[in-house]
């Protein structure tokens, strides 16, 4: 008969090759999985570095470039709204009467009305950087900001001189 040294129970224990008695320590339970190892920190740092790289790539200075908001409905481009400073107006689309956009004077645009259940598009808020987007997945509406070239006057002067 085999008995565990620690708990003196017979079941669940198997005879190993070199010893007659086997304890619980020799067969750890699967629930005793390590939660965090020291070397996981390396993984954490690499991950944060990747995130930071993407974040910095997405933060380009756009004060001097011209931007437009492209509106896609059902995957098709239906409107290009040029984001000019000082323009403040609503935009509606015949294909989706339940969705309304609002263009703000600070060169941003936002979805302000939508009949979708989750309202993620509205919660996205004002967007104004190239690549930023507001999407209403249930309505298949996408607004994405695109950079359409620079209108920087100093650059033109540089070319002339």
């Amino acid at each position: 008969m085999l008995f565990c040294r620690k708990c003196s129970k017979q079941e669940d224990h198997e005879r190993s090759d070199d010893r007659n008695l086997v304890t619980h320590d020799d067969k750890p339970s699967r629930a005793q999985r390590v939660f965090f190892r020291a070397r996981d920190l390396l993984f954490l740092v690499v991950l944060l570095a990747i995130a930071l790289t993407f974040f910095l790539l997405s933060r380009k200075d756009v004060s001097s470039s011209s931007l437009e908001a492209q509106v896609y409905i059902d995957g098709e481009l239906v409107d290009r709204i040029v984001l000019k400073a000082g323009v403040d107006q609503d935009h509606r689309f015949a294909a989706r009467p339940a969705v309304r956009l609002h263009q703000y004077a600070d060169r941003t645009i936002a979805v302000i009305v939508s009949d979708c259940p989750d309202k993620t598009c509205i919660n996205t808020g004002k967007i104004g950087k190239p690549g930023a987007f507001a999407a209403c997945v249930p309505n298949r509406v996408l607004v994405v900001i695109v950079e359409t070239g620079t209108t920087d006057s100093t650059q033109e002067v540089d070319v002339v001189t």
Binding site: F35, F43, F54, S58, Y72, D118, T120, A132, F133, L142
Partner: protein, 186 residues
Amino acid sequence: MLSLDSKHTSGVRMSTTKLARIAVLLALALVLGIVDGMLPPLPSPVPLRYGLANVAVMAALILLGSGEAFSVAMLKSVFVFLTRGLFAGLVSMSGTLCSILLMLAIEKGTRGRVSIFILSVVGAITHNFGQFLFLIFKDVYRSAFVYVAPFLILFGLLTGLLSATLLRMTMKPLEVLFNRKIRPRS
């Protein structure tokens, strides 16, 4: 002593046990999915969820095995198909597939020695990226990868940490439940 451990039992009983265990964890995954939907949305510009259901999938992976984990994950997506329609089902399926395949690969690659933290965070981030890549293919999102990627990673990290903590707290009771011996009537 009759044990329901898969090693010691005959074919029929083993598959019944397996089925019951998968069913318990699938039920857990579905309930966690509902709870997930009731929580306030994450402050992210991309629609992201907490991914609590991954706790049940990881419990299946660690306590039961890769086949069971795959079943729980895929059946959960099938349930999304049935309840929320084709599009939501496909989005869920793409995230789940990426997530479970990578988690299985890591678990196999490290022979089960990977920490809960890494497993959970990798699962959460690949789930986010899987869904996002599907939405790019479906033309819902375009050319916004650089803008979205940091959010996917950062929120994947936070939600992954949350599910890892939940898993650590529930693992012991779950193991007791799964390893409970059934004594024959005598």
